[in-house]
Structure formats: C-alpha cells, structure tokens
C-alpha cells in the first residue's frame, strides 16, 4: 500500500522582496495528525512562509499544495479546509464576542452552531465577556477570541502565527492541550512559534529558518 500523501506539501518555496530572499528553497510536509513548527529569529521568514502557505502572499517560486491541490486563497474549498489565525485578524466593532463566533460557525454551516460556540467559549474562558464588543477586550482576550474563531468551524489544517502571543500561563497550557487534541482528531497543525515549551509539548517536526 503506497504511503499516504501529506496533508500539506511545500516544495522549493522561495519569497523574494526586492534583492533579498527572505525564504529560499524551503521544503517541508505537514501530515494529517501531526504538528510542524516553524522556528527562527525575528525576521527569519516564519510569517512569510505562513502567508505563502495560506495563499495570503504569492511565493516567488515553489509550490504549496493542500491534498495535492495548489493553495489559492480565493478558493472557497481552501478557506473551508484552512483555519488561519495570524496577526492581521480584526473583528467587526459592532458585533459581540458570541455573535462573532456564531457568525463563523453559521457561515461554515456547522450543525447546532450555538452548542459548538458555547463549548468553545467556555473552553477559551470568554463566557463572562460573551456580550462584550471586541474593542473592549484586553489583548490576551482578543487573542483567545481569534483562536476561538478557528475552533468553532470545520478545518483540516490549522495554521497559527505565534499563537502564544499575549496568552497567560493558563492560556498556554490550554493551547498545548487543544493542539494535542487537534492532532489526535487527525488534523494537521502548522505553527510559527518562539515558545520552546509549546513547541516541545505539541510539535512532531521543527523547521528552523534563518
């Protein structure tokens, strides 16, 4: 029986800004049920790789395939399969925390969205803030909301850019448990991180950049 192809396959990825190659000839795979971490100093190109992987940026050269299909951000199927939390996440100023999560769940046609949203809200510890507008949340709470938005919807690959940012110790422990559960459910996880503890607790393969 031939080996199962990886969920995400990145080959020869190169991203050039002007005369500078920020990322050059990068190859890695993210199999289903595994977590891969991108590590490296600031400016090493971790976020650039994630942007290319999610289709938010176009690589200068190389291919990014999800289940053998080239990643194109405009494809609704890719949007359904990829749950992405990056720094460019923002929220509607006039919808409450729970209304945001309801919106994401309903947009993805999740069955019994209210039950799913309530469970995730409790998990990320935002139940007391459910009626608050995003502008009034602390930076850590906003991070939790961004992460929650990825967990209320169906996904096959979770892409997180430094998810540990602004989370407290309890939040980091929860995140590690949650990512382990994602792997156990057969989902792929790709994250860029500076947190060695999180990487050691969750990750199966490390791609060091720079």
């Amino acid at each position: 029986m031939p080996p199962k192809p990886p969920l995400l396959r990145v080959r020869g990825l190169r991203r050039r800004f002007g005369e500078v190659d920020v990322v050059k000839d990068l190859d890695f795979d993210v199999p289903a049920g595994k977590a891969v971490a991108l590590t490296g100093r600031n400016g090493a190109g971790k976020s650039t790789v994630l942007r290319c992987v999610t289709g938010a940026d176009r690589p200068t050269a190389g291919t990014v395939e999800l289940d053998g299909v080239a990643v194109d951000e405009r494809s609704p199927q890719i949007r359904r399969d990829l749950a992405v939390v990056m720094d460019d996440m923002d929220f509607f100023p006039d919808l409450s925390v729970v209304e945001h999560l309801d919106l994401f769940a309903q947009a993805h046609r999740v069955g019994d969205p209210e039950a799913v949203v309530d469970a995730v809200l409790a998990e990320v510890g935002l139940v007391p803030q459910s009626a608050q507008l995003p502008g009034t949340l602390s930076s850590g709470q906003r991070r939790r909301l961004a992460l929650a938005s990825a967990f209320v919807r169906p996904r096959r690959l979770l892409v997180l850019d430094e998810p540990e940012q602004r989370l407290d110790r309890a939040g980091l422990d929860w995140l590690a448990d949650r990512l382990a559960a994602e792997k156990a459910d057969g989902l792929g996880v790709l994250l860029a991180s500076h947190d060695q503890t999180l990487v050691e607790a969750v990750v199966d393969n490390v791609v060091h950049l720079g």
Partner: protein
Amino acid sequence: MSRRTSAAAEVRALRGQVREWRRGRAELSVMEAVSEAYIAIFATVMLGSMAVSVILNLRSASGAACTSTTCTTARELMPWLIGGVEVALCLGVARLFGPMLVSPAVGTWLVSAPVDRRPLLLPRFLGTGSVAFLVGGVLAAVVGTLAGFPTATIAAFAVAVAAVCLCTVTLSTVVQARGGRAAQVATWLVAGVVWAAVVALVLQVLPAQRTPPSFSAVWVAALVVAGLVAAVSGWRAVADLPRIHRDQLALGGRLVPSLSGALATLDLALIYDILVSRRWLARSTVRSRRGGPSGPLALVWRDVIRLWRSPQTVVVPAAALVLPYLGATLGIGEGVLLLAGVTGFLSALGLCSALRVLSRTPGLVRCLPFEPWEARAATLTVPALVLVGWGLATAPAVHAAMPTTWGAALGLGAAVGVAGVVAAARWMTAKPPNYDRPLVSSPAGGVPPTLFVSLLRGFDVLVLLLAPMLLASPSNGVLISLVLAGIVAGVLLNRR
C-alpha cells in the same frame, strides 16, 4: 496661603517645568517665529479680503437670480436653517472630542499629578469656547450677508448664533463632568427642528414673518439673554472642570492625533474607521442576538441586526429624504437626480460598515468559506435594499421636478438608489494611499499620485452612473446606468 492658590502655584510650577524642558528643544528661533507669524497674518488678511469680496458678489448675484417666490422664501429661511445646522454641528463636535481634552502626554504627566485640574483645563476651555464663538459668528455673518440682511441685523444675528455656539460648549462641558444625555438630546432636538423647518419649506407651510426683525430693542434683549445664559453656563462649566474624569479627557486627546494622522494622508475611510470604532468602544456591551440563517446569509443577517442596533443608520437616510423634495420645491429640475444621488451616497456610508471592515481586514475574510466577492456582496445586500427603497421613495420628487411618467420616475428613483450604494461601495472598498510606491512632487512634499483622487472617491462613480440619466431619455438612461452600475459593482466586489 489658601488651598486654591497653592494648587494654582503647583500647576504653574508644572507648566514652568514643561517650558523649561521645551526650551532646549526649540526648533524655531524668535525671528523665524515672527517671520512665520507675519506670513500667516498677511495670508489671512489677503485670503479674508478675497473671501469677503466673493461673498458680497455672490450676494448681489443671488439677489438678482433668486426671483421666484419659492426661491425667495428659501433664501429668507436659509440663515435660520444654517444657524440651526451650525449649532447641531457644534454640539456634535463638542461631544465627539469631549469637549475638554488633553494630549496623551499631558494626560499621563500632568492630569495624573495631585493638582487642581481647573487651572490646568481653564486655558483649553477658554480656547474651545472662543473658537466656537468665532467660527459660529463668522459663518452666521456670511450666511446673513448672502441672505441680504441689513448690516446691523447681520451683526446681531452673528452674535446671537455665536453665543448659542458658546453655550453648546459650556453645556457639553457640564455634561462631560456630570454625565447624562442632555447634550445628546439637545443635538437631536436642534437637528429635528432644522429638519422640521425644511419639511415646512417643502410643504409651503411657513409663517408670514420669516426674516429676522431689523435691529431694535428686541435684538438687544435677545442678545442680553444669550449673553447671560452663556455667562451663567460658562461659570457652571468652569466650576465643574475639576470633576471631569481623566479617562474622558484622554479619550478626546487620543482622538485628535488619530484624526489628524488620517487627515494628513487624506484617508477619509480611516477617519470613518476611527469614528465607528470609538462609537462602539463607548457602548462596550450589546445584547447579543443568536441564531439566524447559515452560509452567506449569515452575513446578511448580521446587517439586519446592525439596523436594529443602530437605528440612526436608517433614521438619517429617512430624514435626508426631504432634500430631493426640497430640490423639487425649489424647481431645480433634473438637478434633483444629482441632489438625490449625492444624498443617497452619503446616507449609504453609515449602512456599509460591515463592507468596510471586510475590505480592510483580510484575516477576517479568511475566516469565511466564501469567495471574497461573495462575502462583499453579502455585506452589500442590506444597504442595497435600503437604498433602492430610498431611491423609490424619491420618485414623487423626481416626478414633480422632471417631465416624466410615474413609471419613469420610479425607474429613475431606483437607479439613483443603486448609484448611491455602488458609490458607497467604491468609497468603502478603496485602498489607502500607498507611500511605498513612487511619490509625486508637490508644494507639500512628496505625495502618492492617488492622494488627491481619494477626495473624489465615490463621487467619480456617482457622476458616471448619474450621467446617463441626466443626458439620455429616462428609460435609456436608467438602463445604461444600471448596466454600468453592475459592471462597476462587479469590479469593486472582485478587487483583491
């Protein structure tokens, strides 16, 4: 030494320290400052005299051209209407900025110090009151001149409006210190009175005496009363200055640099974002509404919730509906289409906040399993329905102003509504000026080529979509305009 004197001395000492700190960092010499002040005064006098000349010429021209009864009536009412708009605007701006505010630095270093805040805030209060008085008075004088009032009446009218503008600042300061909704209620009340006056003008239900009486004892009494009210409310406001919370002072202080930054780059959409964000920040929580349809309709449903949550986004277009009817009453003919288009476009901006957020936040779009155009179209659905309904409601005005059948008037109204919402979509989906690309040399330094075009954004689409209706026959014009609207909307929604 009394406690008050001691506090004032402490503030003086703090100010002295700030002056001392600044002294070593001055960027201008005294002579350079005098030279710049001379240029500023010279320019002000020159531009001021040009403006006065233009106003006087306009007065003669409008007096000669405005001969019909309706036009004369509107001209007589104009100072009252503009005066009311001035007062409502003054209240709105005062509430937006505080009116009392301090810069973030002063908020951090001086307001937090254990000193009496009255001497610290008094110069700001006097400055704000003076600006409101002067701007209110000058604008009222200009409008009074254009309306053809006698000189003494213009002066009395200007002083009266200026005094009311000053009172709006004092009232807003007292509300800022003590809380409550008096300033908000006053704003809506004044705006409501102005709107009722426009409706009365449209319906031709007006009092016989519309022009202000010539300068007499009545004016003197009115001015004395206005002065007394301003003095008493000013005294109350000054007494309340120390009661204003630091957070409220800092809120306006943070808003000023944000808005100045956006204005410096002529990024009007950014100003919109800042104001919307601030409004919801002040509200802090809402009663969450759950459930609703799934798929793209989930986005549409959120817009319905928004209408419920911010009724003013519908109330404002509904109130603005009176303007096309005013145009028809004034007999501006096909100009009604232009007036309705501009009014619809500006009214639609408040309805398109979701489209704006999606256009500037790729991270949010990425969370939705739709093509970008699908998500944008979903957020444009409710504004489009409201605006088409709005456009249809202008049909009687179009019918009255232009020689058309009712069917054609309905078609023109609907097409005007579509033009308004597509123009709003153009405004909302526009990208900010890009300073990374090659800049164009200008007297103000290097600027992006798109900077000045950004002021025309939305209006360009509006002109494109209204032109066929103004130039071709109604049925052809509507058809061409709708086809063009479809093409423009397609381009805007598919933009990356």
